[in-house]
Symmetry: C2
Subunit: 375 residues, 2 copies
DNA sequence: CTGAAAGCGCTTACAG
DNA sequence: CTGAAAGCGCTTACAG
């Protein structure tokens, strides 16, 4: 033990840290090869300057440096504080999040698990979340499940191995380790709830009511007969939209045959294939699609069949994809407030971190009627 | 010192870790309030089970557990190994990346800095990167710069505070701390190089040649006169595309007046506004756009003016956005191989980590002619 | 084959 | 106001 102290003193005198005898990954490098940092600028992935460096240059203890960088109100004289602060700037010191995390602090690292980043609506929500987290000094880990339970479990496992400060799941699927992860991390579900989980934090719209509104719109405009391509029923969101549609049609006495309804996955290709089938069997005046992505696929099927949208056939989507006004002005849709989704999700996560309770935050939606392409 | 040992022995005997006397964040919780983990399942953000728990239950040292989970070939008897392995499964133990990172190991955490996630081409590349990194057991931190140097610096600062194993920058801008970050972390630039940085790793296409090919296509089809809306010239990619265009037109003796050229930012709105201006002043037969996003905006401007695309006016884009075949079949574009972008970028990063040298990887592109919307 | 120990970069209760 | 020390979860050279 005294020997160590000696080494330390010596090291400090030399203004050098004593090198730990460990040489990580040394086995990967054949003996005789160049040592790892011969160039002096070899990318190391490690912070160049540590709290110890700042302390040494400032002639104070690391405790004092820590107090300064954490802006502790007390415990540091104004003079010392100012000196260390300028030293931090000068040395370009940034405290390692890794060290902080291990010490038990918040990492300000958040995870976003997203079912499909190719959906520009989801990308827009991801972007909003990322921007707002950055504004608050946080960062975002992005995971993509592709609507697959095994992939989602793998994402959750990776999240479990890091200390994240919170978790957003944009369109979760049921998966083995979902329950445990949700119990371990503050979690906010976005746009899709997992009902089997019981009480959770959720941000979304009233999909059931929105679907009913769409039906009213369709019926008033007499866009019948109607074909339906809904999303997968494992998604509570898709299921609610379908229920709203069915109930509203039923109440209005409008029949819907089994052949008029098809279930597609949440993709353009899914919408395309099922629309093609539908259009083959009957002349529809409108297609109700469970999402805008599905609607895009349906659009292509209509075009290929020589049907003009919206003159020959109307397409109804769901989501209010930000792309619509540019590339799909013909689309009727339900605009969900994706910007508010992000801000409310972050607000709810902050509330959870402060001990708040789970809440369902149901935001208002808009019905958007498609235009004739601006002409 | 001996006192500590006593505490440890006692603790081990009780099968409990001795609690550190530190109570992080205790000051945030008013005295008399409930203690943090009264519920027993309060989200903690910390791994539930640590290497120490496994060691204790297995009756071995943490060193042995470490050897097992890292699959060290030697140093553990097969019997012990098997026992610990099943214990790891049983306890659902996952080594903390934080602990590993601090110890100097690779984190398998990669950062992707992206200039605009709303661009579906970039989203597609992000998705490919994420998927491939996940396949290799890695995770991806996502950052969005919005083409802004200050925001990019903030992203780089956050990256600096974590030990990332590598960095991808999809469309970098020049910024103060870029050079230092690139020196510190293995970095691969994608789709846009920063020439001032000297030799770097890069994955992209030959934008100059591609632009020349587009000009040939335009001239052969006699889609003239031509209006040009190029991307911002701080982007080397945009600048190369413009140079290719200018040179090719010049060689073919086709004049291009200053009024026919406009610089837009890389957004649909930018394309829209500039196309509107162009269309006001002359009757163009074609618009050359520096990116597909710009082209989408131009499309809207054409529609609003009552011009049919592609019958009245042709639109030429650049990127091969995956959305095109669904929503913009009228678009002529240069398809960059975004899937290969991801795989080559990862391959190059792996090469750098193994001591490889910087390389420019120039991939082939396709010229895609727009269709008449499938009709 | 196995374990004790050092140390990665931090924060904070405790003692001066 | 300030510092020494403990410890977060790991890995590995070293010693047995």
């Amino acid at each position: 033990m005294p020997e160590l102290s000696e080494r330390w003193k010596l090291a400090l005198a030399m203004d050098r840290k004593p090198k730990t005898p460990l040489r990580p990954q040394a086995h990967r490098r054949p003996a005789g090869d160049l040592p790892p940092d011969t160039t002096g600028t070899r990318p190391s992935g490690k912070p160049a300057v540590t709290i110890r460096d700042v302390a040494r240059h400032g002639g104070v203890s690391i405790a004092t440096v820590s107090r300064v960088i954490n802006n502790e109100a007390q415990g540091v004289s104004p003079k010392t504080r100012a000196r260390i602060q300028s030293l931090v700037k000068e040395l370009n010191y940034r405290p390692s999040r890794i060290g902080q995390a291990l010490r038990g602090q918040a990492t300000d690292t958040y995870a976003l698990v997203i079912s499909n980043i190719q959906n520009s609506l989801y990308a827009a929500i991801a972007w909003e979340l990322e921007r707002r987290l950055n504004d608050g000094g946080g960062v975002m880990l992005l995971f993509n499940t592709n609507e697959n339970a095994d992939l989602q479990d793998r994402c959750l496992a990776e999240i479990n191995a890091r200390h994240v400060s919170g978790l957003f799941i944009l369109c979760a699927v049921e998966s083995r380790s979902l329950r445990q992860t949700v119990a371990q991390y503050h979690t906010v579900f976005i746009n899709r709830r997992v009902t089997s989980l019981g009480e959770t934090s959720f941000v979304g719209v009233d999909d059931y009511a929105a679907a009913r509104d769409v039906v009213s719109m369709i019926v008033e405009a007499r866009h019948l007969p109607l074909g339906v391509i809904h999303g997968p029923l494992y998604s509570d969101t898709s299921a609610s939209r379908l229920r709203g549609l069915r109930d509203a049609l039923h109440e209005k006495g409008i029949p819907l045959e089994a052949g008029d309804i098809r279930e597609a996955d949440l993709s353009m290709d899914g919408g395309y294939r099922h629309a093609r089938e539908l259009l083959r069997q009957k002349t529809y005046r409108a297609l109700f699609c469970g999402s805008d992505q599905i609607a895009y696929g349906a659009y292509r099927a209509c075009c290929e069949r020589g049907l003009a949208v919206p003159d020959d056939i109307q397409i109804y989507g769901f989501d209010g994809n930000p792309l619509n006004e540019w590339l799909a002005p013909w689309l009727n849709t339900v605009r969900i407030p994706h910007t508010s989704f992000a801000s409310e999700a972050i607000r709810q996560l902050a509330s959870l971190r402060e001990g708040g309770v789970h809440r369902s935050i149901i935001l208002p939606y808009d019905i958007v009627a498609g235009s004739m392409n601006g002409r």
